[in-house]
Symmetry: C3
Subunit: 442 residues, 3 copies
């Protein structure tokens, strides 16, 4: 199968983003956002170093010019230019000659994955260090090593970017992903790439009910800075939200429920991520993982879940140089975006309806919704879905609830509701539907 146009678009973008040395602040994030801005209209905000954000403070901006280690034989044995994982993120500047054993204190490797370079950070405690394959570390001979770490911590800023796609309602859906990890494919680039593709697919729809807010930010400190600015707004406008992380590997989709556990997106995912519908599984909220733990902190308790394929820390390549281009699949990223589009289409269609002919079953035959001759085989799934929609359109059940009770694929329920609405049998329960807020400006 040749790759789709979408997959090619993502791969081309991936190749440009891969070599950029990213951290939670600095030029790496800015260049990353600039490239993503070619795919969707990003607005960038800079939050100055030293700004207090809840319990945290925006750190100084980390500047890396070069970082390498020269071995006893005068050759560079580790060089940041070879792999942006080689330097412990936020390493202090250092320049000096150290013995093999002094150097070793500053080295990080994984004996269980001897060929992988691990990913290590020390954002809030001054340190310096290098990461390398365990087999390389073991092969480093005795002798003196020249270490050069030309970094700086300056008063700069943290970079957040946002794109808003307006809908007819002011209620919002948040898509949040992070752009702070260096060279990792699934646990970095898959999220922003799928988010960008999702934006383009939603933008191409003829109409949208919800307003979609896409956020790209450094993990943790970025989410907290974002909540500092937007938390109150989200608290009053957010219908549902989704953190995207590790959405590029070949595993099935995994949806992690929001802290609330029963929001519209939680319910939609429980209905769709099933065998025979969209393949995948759901799991309950836990207060760790990616930024869903901040959106779901008790002061906000926002209905934000997370979409993943294989969850972080559950694949052996996680947080190492093995999480690279060959580990991910651009077709899988496209499939992730398409699955999210299906989920969001359920939220777009979901509402409560009122059966306008609620006394007995209305006559379906003369409206073309049912065969006018009673014979075998007349119980199609479409007809059963129509009967459930009519029976439960009492102003209390939304379409998700009808799918839950009936056991029928929610997409069939949405189609049946459209058929019933076209036939004049049901009407939206407008006045009490919480999502149909007045449009902005009215």
């Amino acid at each position: 199968v040749p790759p789709s146009l979408d997959a090619l678009l993502l791969e081309r973008c991936f190749d440009r983003l891969w070599p950029i040395p990213r951290s939670i602040t600095g030029e790496g994030v800015r260049r990353t956002h600039a490239i993503l801005a070619e795919l969707l209209p990003l607005t960038t905000i800079e939050v100055p170093s030293g700004t207090p954000v809840f319990d945290w403070t925006i750190p100084k901006e980390w500047i890396v010019r070069e970082a390498f280690v020269v071995g006893p034989d005068g050759r560079r044995v580790i060089d940041l230019r070879d792999n942006s994982l080689h330097l412990v993120s936020y390493s202090m500047p250092f320049r000096g000659r150290v013995s093999r054993s002094e150097l070793d204190v500053h080295l990080h490797s994984r004996p269980d994955q001897p060929s992988a370079i691990p990913y290590v950070t020390s954002y809030y405690e001054p340190r310096w260090g290098f990461c390398l394959a365990h087999e390389q570390r073991q092969a480093l001979p005795d002798g003196d090593y020249d270490v050069v770490i030309d970094t700086d911590l300056i008063d700069g800023s943290l970079t957040l970017s946002e794109a808003v796609l307006a809908g007819t309602a002011t209620d919002e859906i948040l898509i949040s992903t992070y752009t702070c990890h260096p060279a990792m494919a699934n646990n970095e680039l898959s999220g922003p790439l799928v988010a960008a593709l999702l934006y383009r697919k939603l933008a191409a729809l003829p109409e949208r009910r919800f307003t979609y807010r896409f956020v790209f930010q450094p993990e943790t400190i970025g989410a907290i800075a974002y909540l500092d600015r937007m938390g109150v707004h989200l608290k009053s406008h957010l219908h549902a939200g989704l953190v995207l992380t590790c959405v590029g590997d070949r595993g099935p989709l995994t949806y992690k429920r929001s802290r609330q556990g029963d929001g519209a997106l939680d319910r939609a995912a429980s209905l769709l991520l099933r065998p025979g519908r969209l393949n995948g599984t759901c799991r309950d909220f836990q207060p760790w993982g990616s930024d869903e733990k901040h959106y779901g902190s008790p002061g906000f308790n926002l209905p934000v879940g997370a979409m993943m394929r294989t969850p972080p820390a559950e694949f052996p390549e996680y947080h190492s140089s093995l999480d690279n281009k060959s580990f991910v699949s651009f077709a899988a990223m496209v499939e992730s975006a398409e699955a999210i589009v299906e989920l969001l289409a359920l939220l777009e269609a979901n509402r409560r309806f009122i059966n306008l002919y609620p006394y007995g079953e209305p006559q379906l035959g003369r409206r073309g919704l049912m065969a006018t001759m009673n014979r075998d085989g007349s119980r199609t799934e479409r007809l059963l879905a129509i009967k459930w929609v009519l029976n439960l359109s009492d102003g209390l059940h939304d379409l998700l609830a009808i799918a839950e009770r009936s056991g029928i694929d929610p997409r069939r329920i949405v189609e049946a509701a459209r058929d019933c609405q076209c036939a004049g049998l049901i009407a939206p329960h407008a006045h009490t539907d919480p999502e149909t807020a007045a449009p902005t400006g009215s």
Copy 2:
């Protein structure tokens, strides 16, 4: 085992009802109700053709004088007089000579059941047609056929009949069944026969708390016409209801819960239709099947379930000439009626009680409810049931709730409550019991 008197009564009635050509209107229904009226005191109502009933209109009355097809050799190859399934119900009048292939367009048969005559209707779209065994259809030679369908659609009426058995309370229990199908045994005659027998068994009881309302009507349009007249009354008076359909085959009992799912009858059936109690199973409401879908439409949402043995469309003989006398069992019909009597006895007995000695367990020994010597084997099921009744007679739990929590057969709980009441230990929680309405006229 010789048949019981009840079974003989039902069989004699069955044999008279079987040959009557029934449809949703007309003389077939009227003759059927007249025969049933020998078993219970029916009051009949005629609703004129053209009367609007919610989304429907009472159709014209269909009159069939004769219908047959004469083959190329001059012999009648299909004749309504042989089997009342042969004519598509509500066929338009037709008289003419047609070729074999022209005729075939109007024939209905089932290749999967080649010896069965299927049951086909076209109530609301003008058509004509004949139903016959697939093997007979295939054997019809080429040539010209004379078709005679002497039917009429006239301004007449739809026939509903009702029998009301008064109880001490105005709260009602509805028993509803249909009388519109031609020659089918399980999916037509079993329902009215079991309903009539049930009436006689309830009428023979020394006392009844509830008022029982029995309704016989054509399916769908009859139920809707009935709800048009009685829906508001039922909404304010109905304690529980039961549609009877397919209660004559040899399968175990199947109770289909009402739309509400937790009404008194739903709970009683969940407790009784279990292995070791009354054999049988329960299943959840679905908005199709028989008239329970109309009683459970969102505008009424009445607590009406359905009692069946093998549910409609789940036995291969369904809607065909194979659903005949040899398929059903009169002993099974009697057993169906007896099981319903047991269910209704639970509803009759069910109420909340108040323990008059609620502080510590009262002294059971001196009241003869427990052995006065403490020895092994004193924990009889009767004693455990008494202890549960005393413990949960707090005004919050009705007897069904005590059976649910204790796991004890609800009939043992009812007996224990009687024992406790006779011993002066409990008293009915009269003032807040929703079923003990004032008698009519007070």
Copy 3:
């Protein structure tokens, strides 16, 4: 393994309590309480015979001087002095010569356990009788037997004892056990012995939040007399309660939930009595067993469960002379007391907290609660417990609820809450916490 000091203490006490002939009233109970009073500071109350207590009346006091049967050969074949189970409890006085067959009417034995002397009582119906091994009964020859039962029923009193261990709050935890059975080890002495040890362990704690009320009383009539005096007080002060019965055999622990089923102790036991935590199981309330049925009668509905090892009537030695010292284990009794201490420690620690940094996850690294370098293996159970405590400290979840939702051992949750509180991250939700009542006297 040599026995622990606690086990030796219990055994020494057991040996003194064993030979005392106990019944629901009289000197046996008084001497039993006097010995127990060496282990904990008991206050004794005497309730006079004839006092009405709810549906019951305090019975006359039963005095036994001697009781024996002399066989045809002049030898004593049954003598109360050999085993205090030999006489049916509350036997009327009797003196006379009876034939073998006349005697047999008054004998009790168990054919299924031919070497065991059964335990039989007839408190509220005048009778006399002897209990003996079935094999001994069968060997009694024909001839005349001299029966001497020198008992008296006098106006005396029923004996209740109590010890109260004050805490900082007025909310109470009740520990209730019975002291009315004659020579039985598990189904009599294990309860008071474990209760006494539990008192000593709780008294040794540096601080207690709850006030602990220990009650020793004859089963049933004692509990009812106690409730007559203290029921209203308990209704307004009781946080949780526990009946101790059969806590000395070698089976795993069994907790029987209170009638309410979801009290704090019910929830703590459900969390702790699990494989891998404290071994054991939980079961639902039933209105029989020991005095929990009176505490859980509908007029009181107190949150009192029962702690057992093998429940009464579920071990073959139950209510017979086989329930003796060799059947029980003093190590098991110590383990029972220690498990209850762990359960109560959960109740002591349980409260709702408020996260003081509820907006996003607070910075754990700089507070020493989390590694400051992000590397593999940083997700310790301690860290996950801390994250759950922070996430759910919203004023709605108590620590038990956090353990329930997280699936983490509740003792780890308690530790995590202590860590978070020490770090200044959470504070008790004081104003609405129902257990933090004002101390007595305020």
